[in-house]
Amino acid sequence: MTPMEMASFPILTAILASTIVGLLVIVFIPDGRDKLIKQVSLAFSAVGLALSVWVYLTYDVQKGGLQFVERYLWVKGLGIYWFNAVDGINAPMLLLTAVVLFTGVLTMWELEVRVKEFFAFMFLLVAGVYGVFMSMDLFWIFVWYDVSLFPMYPLIAIWGGTRKEYGGMKLTLYLLAGSALILPGIIYLWVQGGAGTFDLFELQRIGFTPQVQRVAFIMLYLGFGILAGVWPFHTWSPVGHVAAPTAVSMIHAGVLMKLGAYGILRLGMTLCPEGLGYWSELMALLATVGIVYGAFVGLAQTDLKYVIGYSSVSHMGIVGLGLSTMTVNGINGAVFQMFAHGVMTALLFSSVGYIYDKTHTKMIPELGGLSRTMPVASAFFIIAAFAGIGVPFMASFWAELLVFISAVKTYPVRGILAVSGLVVSALFMLRVVQKTFYGEKNEKWEHIPDVPLFLATPRIILVGTILFFGMFPRVMLDVIQSAVIPFVAGLSV
């Protein structure tokens, strides 16, 4: 491990604090002051966004390694550290979380039901997400992970839509099942390590026996894989997306699913490289099935949010495929895809959110011809759909390119199958665009105003992010690569 320099100012803790302090402030604002609550939420999410952008921009790519390190011993007997740091892999994830939270708050600007509780839960959820992404201590990763899971059920069951209780319950049960695999995995590693530490990098240096790695890896892979929507443990995710309110869907598909993939990468692959080697064939297989299968099932959906849900299954398969190649470009692409898909899917849900708010339906057959009545609102969805298809100059194009090149090299048959899935994903995205936005003007929606500038802000930010990283992929990739190259070098040792 590269020598660490402790940060002079605990900027990562500050990012985390922006959500927790925000949460406390929201709780103490009297009921009924909805406007104030929203403004406070926006302000605190803006602080998080500003700090994350700062971290991202000042991260020194040349130096690489861990930066902005904060490491203090917390519980001596168990070896638990308050250990936060940033490298090329989680810097983009923090940025993603901040962007999605900020735009999510803006997207929910018109919320009227139990505003205070909603934003409080949302900040709690995001606190957990930030925590998982920045922590380098296994104990804390698990704690933050559970913190992020807990608010999901109330958020869905109270503010949700279609089959909200079923969706919320299903999601919660699945994720708790995942958690039930992760916890034993972590404890198993802690015990096997025998050094009495939860520090990720100290554990990494121990070097577990292949047998231990195999067992631990599959537990972590399945546990986090459930969250990442790995086939066949994906069915919670479309149902959950559909049931959740807009901003929660955004955070959920945009960030939370990345948490799963990040966990596989950060815990599973870092601590159990040999376990990864042992299980990588399976990972590649499940990922490929997910890519193709998700696209096909997406073809049959009639609910806009289900379509996005299945597209997420398909796109998260690309992340899994990239990770399973164990090559620099595969993992580069996978991390890039995590970011790109997060932004893209947040944009999709955000756009659907506006449409649903105004038309009170998200069933494709009932919609149609929306481009005529709300051209700008439609354009956002269409742009996101193109990002999903993998059109060049959109961030996900580069990610997919890198993953597919590596996948065809490592697993030719599965790689070619996955690439062929692109046709189906184009078909199902365009089908949705056509049926929802094109066609005759629909009398029913004629009265609906196009999205006003203020409400369009979150979508403009997201579109801007997609296009910026699509045009200047190096801004993202150079950062990711600074961590991935040493990481892969470590795998082969």
Binding site: K170, P232, T235, Y293, F296, V297, L299, A300, T327, V328, N329, N332, G333, G369, S371, R372, F386, V391, P392, F393, F397, W398, L402, F404, I405, V408, K409, G415, I416, V419, S420, L422, V423, V424, A426, L427, L430, R431, Q434, F437, Y438, G439, E440, K441, P473, R474, L477, D478, Q481, I485
Partner: protein, 655 residues
Amino acid sequence: MMSLLKDPVLLAAALGTSLPFLSMAVILVFTRQNQRLSATISVGSVSVSLLSSLYLLITLYGAGAPVQYEFPWLLADDIVIPFGYLLDPLSLLMLTIVAVISFLVQVYSIGYMSGDPGFSRYYAFQSLFAWAMMSMVIAPSMLQLFIFWELVGLASYLLIGFYYEKWSASQAGKKAFVMTRLGDIGFFLGLIILVLGFGDLSIVRMNEAGQGHQIPQYLITISALLIFGGVMGKSAQFPLLTWLPDAMEGPTPVSALLHSATMVAAGVYMFSRIFPFYSMSPEAMALALAIGTVTMLLSSTMAMATYDLKQVWAYSTVSQLGFMVMGLAAGGYFAGVFHLTTHAGFKALLFLCSGIFIHEYHTNDFRIIGQQGGRKLMIPMVCMTVGALALSGIFPFSGFFSKEAILGVLANHPNKLWLGAGLVGALMTAYYTFRLIFFMLFPRGVAAAHGVHDAKGSGHGHDDHEGEHHGYIFWTMAVPVMILAGISVVLGFSQSSLESFLMGHGSVPAQLAASGGEGHAAAHDGHGIGHYALLIGAVTMALGGIFWAFMEFGRKGATQEGFLRAFPVVERLFAARWYMDAFLRAFLDKVIYSGLTNVFTRNDRRVIDGGIDGICFFTVAGGRLLSFLQSGMLQYNLLVMIVAVGFVVLYFLLA
């Protein structure tokens, strides 16, 4: 930035290709409400592109070696993706074609699209296309070419579906995107295999290495075959050809620019771009030759059975693209590129003329246009006839020279079958082209139809249009058409200068000859007796086709039914595009929708979800079972067990 200002060539290349992008962004974000300003910005930027490309052509006309610029765009481990410009004769020629026709079409559209509510959007998409297409043309690496190739596809999708309220238009856009995407998968995989096997996608180095036998033969063949998938999609080769006639749903200027002159020619362009590489694989060349031939013949037959003005030109575009592929695949580098050039001119001409008729008469049926007096519109009628003569390959119009060049290449091929196919194609082309022309020139049943349309105010409308003929709307449409007609008349005579330009120093074939490859392309243009025999044969075929059409549709007392009327089965076959669409529809419905999609969806609901619910059921049932056991109610135990076992059986059956 400094190097940009110091080097006028780089400045011209950068400015010419990227201004349309800025224009698109400005129109979409700021000037959507102001139609006039949007058109000004777009036409202004494409004029700069035109000037830049002409400047580049003139400056680099005699340049010895290709000029290349590369900047790193993405660095990912061992993969380097540069962004840059490759300026060699081929790309300069194509750049000029694209710029000229884009410019003319954008000017023409000021008139054609005037009053359309989506006017600004139209110009934004036109700018998007111009940017993508020109950046694709001067791409120095196959990956950059592929990236802009995809963007060109996006522009095509958006422009085909421009009238998105029309279901058929959005359907056509979707079909075009997905069908070309299907071919692009092959293209993409071919590139990936090349990256992995050879490690460099620079066009120049690929060609050199291919010629220099530095790439294993099997790798060339596999990647060339896969890359040809891209050509099949973009240039509408069999079996991915039916999207192109459907793409006629777009506005007519779009059909002229994208779906005849430039975008669909991108496949052929890409083929010629890597021609030295591609020609190293005889298998791939043979396949391309066969596909090109089949495409050409099939689509010619389809053109004989339609009464839709634009459809005829669309089928003819497909068939001419097939003809270009034949020329290239038979080893005729110059012949293929030359036909691409002339075809771009006269096919854009034909479409733009048709656009004037469609704008005037609000119908695509050329019988009705003829009956309503289409021939009275002198300028488009004359220009369209010029285009038709060029398409049929009549001296001295441009098509004559380029068709002759391709037939010459085919004649040198050891297998004379291809030459025969080419000649049959020439016959059919002349026949269907003049079938249309004669319908419009010598309409039947004028009186009857006239009455009907008079009642509908056609006479009144005509008065309106009389005014229009002197207005800017008519002239913005007529002037580009006349320019293109002029080009179609003179372009053929530039054959030798074009040939020396394309085959000269620094060109692809020059490197090809220098490296001692199979550069016999230049040797095809022998002027022996065989050549004259071929010349006479080809002209006879073309004239024969016109005469045949005249006998059936033109002369006094002609029935205007055509010989196909005697064979209804055949006519139906042609009109239904050899049932290719029906097959595709059935495939989509049976295999994709009710096949895989359905199976996977049911699997999701029944097996995966069912499995989870099953686990829950077992948990609950297990609890019950235990409690019942304690209470000793055996019949309940049995019942629960049977249900449980039944569930297990059901689970496996469904799985």
